[in-house]
């Protein structure tokens, strides 16, 4: 349930960029969620609809781009993705692994609507 704090952080960031770019409103946000980030997209969406009311982000759409967890085996160098469950290296069977992808939780971009008569 820490998604509320996370969603507030997301809203602040999106509003900052939207205002800086003279947006009339925000249409959508593109968000990257790594499988290991422990963020639940549905839960972020739930809070988003509530807390974005009366802001420049009201009624905007959240688009989640999920990226899988990826490990490298430090024994044999094999890179592999996991699907939910933690598994040993499929090549050599050892558990000497390092994460190379899957921690991410990023606001990638926002689509905004702006008045073409205004500068920038």
């Amino acid at each position: 349930m820490h998604e509320l704090a996370v969603t507030e952080s997301l809203l602040n960031t999106a509003c900052d960029y939207a205002i800086k770019n003279n947006a009339q409103r925000v249409i959508s946000l593109s968000i990257i969620i790594g499988e290991l980030s422990s963020i639940i997209g549905d839960s972020v969406q739930f809070y988003w609809d509530i807390i974005s009311e009366n802001t420049i982000c009201e009624k905007s759409t959240l688009v989640f781009n999920k990226i899988p967890a990826k490990f490298i085996c430090q024994s044999c160098g094999k890179e592999f993705e996991i699907n939910g469950e933690l598994i040993p290296c499929p090549a050599c069977g050892r558990m000497d692994l390092r994460t190379i992808q899957g921690d991410e939780f990023l606001l990638e971009s926002i689509d905004i609507e702006k008045d073409p008569n205004k500068k920038r």
Partner: protein, 221 residues
């Protein structure tokens, strides 16, 4: 109206991380080693803190920040009974401490001559992992009755920690807990993490943890 895409690519937690960094700078300026203790409810966070205080308070001055979801002072009372400065942060139902809450706690604590600050996070294996507080070391306490599969089910909390305590080893004869299986999961997530199986009840294994902590405090001076 025209539509435009603004590229951002920004970590969403960065506001919290920024405050965490400021907290750490403040703690560095006072040479206060700070540890963030995370665990599920009932794993023995308060027991570990009490025993740690007992073990090292003759050599180091300790202060404690207690994170709790409700305004119940059971934990902080136990600590203040030992004449240790303690501040309780009531998160108002939130499942974790964040850097701003810790900053508020730091402002309220008398930190003069303190060498070690222990932050007891809210009992939870998911949310606290996402929020840095300004600590120098993050610690997780697992315990035997929770089961040996926890690293596989809650991988995030075990990654990025510097020390792992496995508490309640006195219960090993009564519980099916495969330490090798548990350690294999940990090694995959966090190779080489300092690992201390111990019992806060009997004191078995406790000295190794206390020595590790004393060394970290020395390094801070």
């Amino acid at each position: 109206m025209s539509k435009k895409t603004i590229q951002i690519v920004k970590k969403i937690m960065s506001a919290n991380d920024q405050i965490a960094e400021e907290n750490q700078e403040f703690l560095n300026s006072k040479n206060i080693l700070t540890i963030n203790v995370m665990a599920s409810p009932g794993s023995g966070k308060t027991s570990l803190i009490l025993r740690t205080i007992e073990n090292i308070s003759s050599q180091s001055k300790i202060a404690v920040i207690e994170g709790d979801t409700a305004p119940v002072t059971i934990d902080s009372d136990k600590i203040s009974n030992l004449n240790i400065p303690v501040i309780q942060i009531n998160t108002g139902g939130e499942c974790h401490l964040d850097a701003l809450m810790v900053r508020t706690g730091l402002e309220q604590l008398d930190l003069s001559n303190i060498n070690l600050l222990i932050i007891e996070n809210v009992g939870n294996l998911i949310c606290p992992a996402a929020f840095r507080l300004g600590e120098h070391f993050s610690i997780v306490i697992a315990s035997i009755p929770e089961g040996d599969d926890k690293p596989y089910k809650y991988p995030n909390i075990y990654r990025g920690i510097q020390s792992l305590i496995l508490n309640k080893t006195d219960l090993l004869p009564y519980v099916d807990f495969n330490i090798d299986y548990f350690k294999q999961g940990i090694e995959a997530l966090n190779p080489g993490v300092a690992f201390f199986p111990l019992s806060c009840k009997t004191g078995e294994g406790f000295d190794k943890w206390a020595d590790w902590l004393k060394t970290r405090i020395q390094e801070m001076k």
